[in-house]
Every structure is written in C-alpha cells, then in structure tokens.
Assembly symmetry: C2
Homo-oligomer: 224 residues x 2
C-alpha cells in the first residue's frame, strides 16, 4: 500500500527530550513528497510555528485534537466546562501551574509537578474527562477528543481517509492517532504503551527514528 | 574583545526566505557557549517556540522590542492606541489583513499586500508612529520601540551591556539592534540598508551566513 500523507507528533518525536528540534527529523520530513500534518498536545500558535519552521504547510492538529486547522480553524470547546470543574477539584489537592491559559481553549494543560496517578483517582467522578501525561505536560481533557479524532477530521478535510496516513509518535497521547492511521510508527524512545500499538518500532530515537521510518517506508515503495 | 552573548533575528536570518528553519543556523547557534537571545517582529508565542526548538533558553525579544521576556514578560503597550488610530486611517485607503490580532499586544502586524510607501505618506500625521516592512510582514509601530531598545532592556536584565552582544539580522527592522550591539552582522541576503550599518556582511546567505559569522568570530577568539 502507498500511503498518501504523514502525521507526526512534535515533542519527543521530532524533538529531543529537552524539546530541542532534531534536525534529522526536519530533513526526513522535508524529503517527503506527500503532505505532512503536525499533531501536538500544544496550542495552535505553537503548532503553526512548528509547521512554518518545518515548511510542512498549514495543516495542523493542536491541543490533542481539540483544535484542527486546514485553511480555517475548527475547535471543539464543548468539554471545557467539565475540564474547568475537574481542575477546580484537583486544585483542592495540589498546587497546580496552568500552561498557556490564554491560548489553550479546548482542554487544560498543567505542569508535571504533581501526583498524576492520585489525580486520576480523584477524577473518577468525571466520566467524560481523562487526565493524560505526555511526558511534557499533563492534560485534563475530554475522553471524546484525541489526536485520533483530530486525524480523522483532518483526513476528511483533505479528502483522504485516516488509513491513508502514516502516523509517527512517542507518547500515550499518540495511541489513538496511531490506531486510526494506516501505519503506526513508534520512535525508539517511545512509551511502551505506544510501542504496543505500533506497526513499526524504530531502532533510532527521536529524529533518527523519524528518518529511519521514512527511509524504510520509501525503500518498500510505500511512501514517496 | 570577547563578546558575551548573541542576539539573532528569526525570519530571513535563521530561516530561508520561505520561513523554513535553516538547520545550519541551528547547529551554529547550538555550538555557542554564550547565551543566545531570539529577537523577532513576531509575537511572543512564536518567539518562545523558536527559542524552545533551538534550545537557546527563554530570553526573547518579540514584537520588534515591544515585548521582552527574561524570567517574566515585560510589554510596552503605551503606543497601541496611536497604532490603532493609524490602522483605522489606513483601512480607509487599503483592504488590510491584520496578523495575530489576539496575540499581538504592542503594535499592529499586517499582511504585505498593499502599497507601503503610500501608507507611509498617509501616516505623516502620526509623528510617533512608523511603518516598517520586514519583507515578511508590515508593522505599524511606535518609533520609540524597536529591537535596539529591546536589546538594551534584555542586556540590562541579564546584567550585561548591549555592546556585549553580537547581533545578527537581515532586515531594516534589525538596524537599531545592530547599531546598539557591540558587533553587527548582516547575513548575505540582508537588505542593503542593514548591510550599511553592519560590521560584518557574510558571504553566506540565511543560516550559512549565521554559521559563517559564528565561525569567524570564534576563530578570532571573540566568541566562545
């Protein structure tokens, strides 16, 4: 099968663990002759900047799927009230630092300085809400929104199917995206849970893993 | 003289003309053992993202000096009312597209799709306001704020003098920054007006120019 597009996570996939961009990923993605979509848990402004710096064009998935941009911006803020209520509850138990409060509109991002497992227990009473630790930030988000739903929407807008995509990631918040895609890649440094759902686990870590996946798929004639 | 820091423009200096990041600049800046400050006409969120991806740390100058971040954010919004009035006047003559209206707080950014020279004439009645075309966007901004004033403020916050900095840029909005610095570098693709105020004009363009300047200053023992 020849895949028609690539969707790729940012932190820990095209960046090193300290969030510095890995130029090996940049070169690999630029070598592709199919559209590349950026998918991140970060806010739209960050996603757009990454896309611009990579030169991948303006198709992005931000806020773990809550925000999608293809020509125009679509955002699903319908779960924000529940997220805020969950946040209020957690605030009673932890000192929390909210990330990008002005720019994050569909979920709540928190610094990773509290007991996430305990927080998950506390949020049992919010069935629609989940708490996800990407290794870079903790997200209080709707269970109905994720990078997989974001990928499906972007694919639809592009006139493609999510199965036409190769998806590359490193973290548990990439699981639904890899599952929705036609071919899931976990970079070498990926979380074990993501490696379990991936069709390919690269030897290389970070950008080297991205380059390895692109090279191997090209060799097989599965991507241009 | 040994310089203690570097301040570098983004678009057209560490990126190509199409705004794609030039990895030659990334590697050169990462090779430095002194602080690197990002200085851009773009908004804070973009400046922060670039700094994070480069791994230069969190010292940034955004909105052409209107916003400065070093630990905390400082912004000078005192000229925004005049900028808005100037914008209203221009709107009577041109169809204008405002950039980042939610995020740009100290000046007004516009798409480059109108007659800037004619706009400059129209704004004669606003003595405190200038209109600057960076080649990437047009800025309606205070004459009292520029990347030079931003550099002086950042230097002060860092316990340095602007003269301790090497400044690298490509565009007319970098003129004051190069002048305020101890050593101004214009990359090979720079605007002739910037080349006139630079101490060094590189042969290389974009990131190759940045790498050339860093290499040459290091060879002379003027930067670590």
């Amino acid at each position: 099968m020849e895949f028609k597009a690539v969707v790729v996570d940012v932190d820990g996939t095209i960046t090193f663990a300290d969030r510095r961009l890995d130029c090996r990923a940049v070169e690999a993605l630029r070598s592709l002759h199919v559209p590349v979509v950026i998918a991140t848990g970060n806010v739209l402004c960050v996603a757009r900047t990454v896309a611009k710096l990579l030169g991948t064009g303006g198709i992005v998935i931000a806020e773990n799927g809550g925000v999608v941009e293809y020509g125009r911006v679509e955002s699903d803020t319908s779960h924000m009230k529940e997220c805020e209520e969950a946040f209020e509850l957690l605030k009673r138990h932890f000192v929390l630092e909210r990330l990008d409060p002005e720019n994050r509109i569909t979920e709540i991002g928190l610094r990773r300085n509290f007991d996430v497992e305990r927080a998950k227990e506390l949020l049992m009473e919010f069935p629609g809400i989940e708490i996800v630790d990407t290794g870079f930030a903790v997200h209080i988000k709707s269970r109905r929104i994720n990078k997989g739903t974001g990928l499906k929407r972007v694919a639809e807008l592009m006139g493609l199917d999510a199965r036409d995509f190769v998806a590359i990631g490193d973290s548990p918040n990439d699981i639904e995206m890899l599952k929705a895609s036609g071919f899931g890649v976990a970079v070498g440094n990926a979380h074990p849970e993501l490696k379990r759902v991936a069709r390919m686990v690269t030897m290389g870590e970070y950008g080297a893993g991205v380059a390895e996946a692109v090279g191997e798929l090209r060799e097989r004639g599965e991507i241009r």
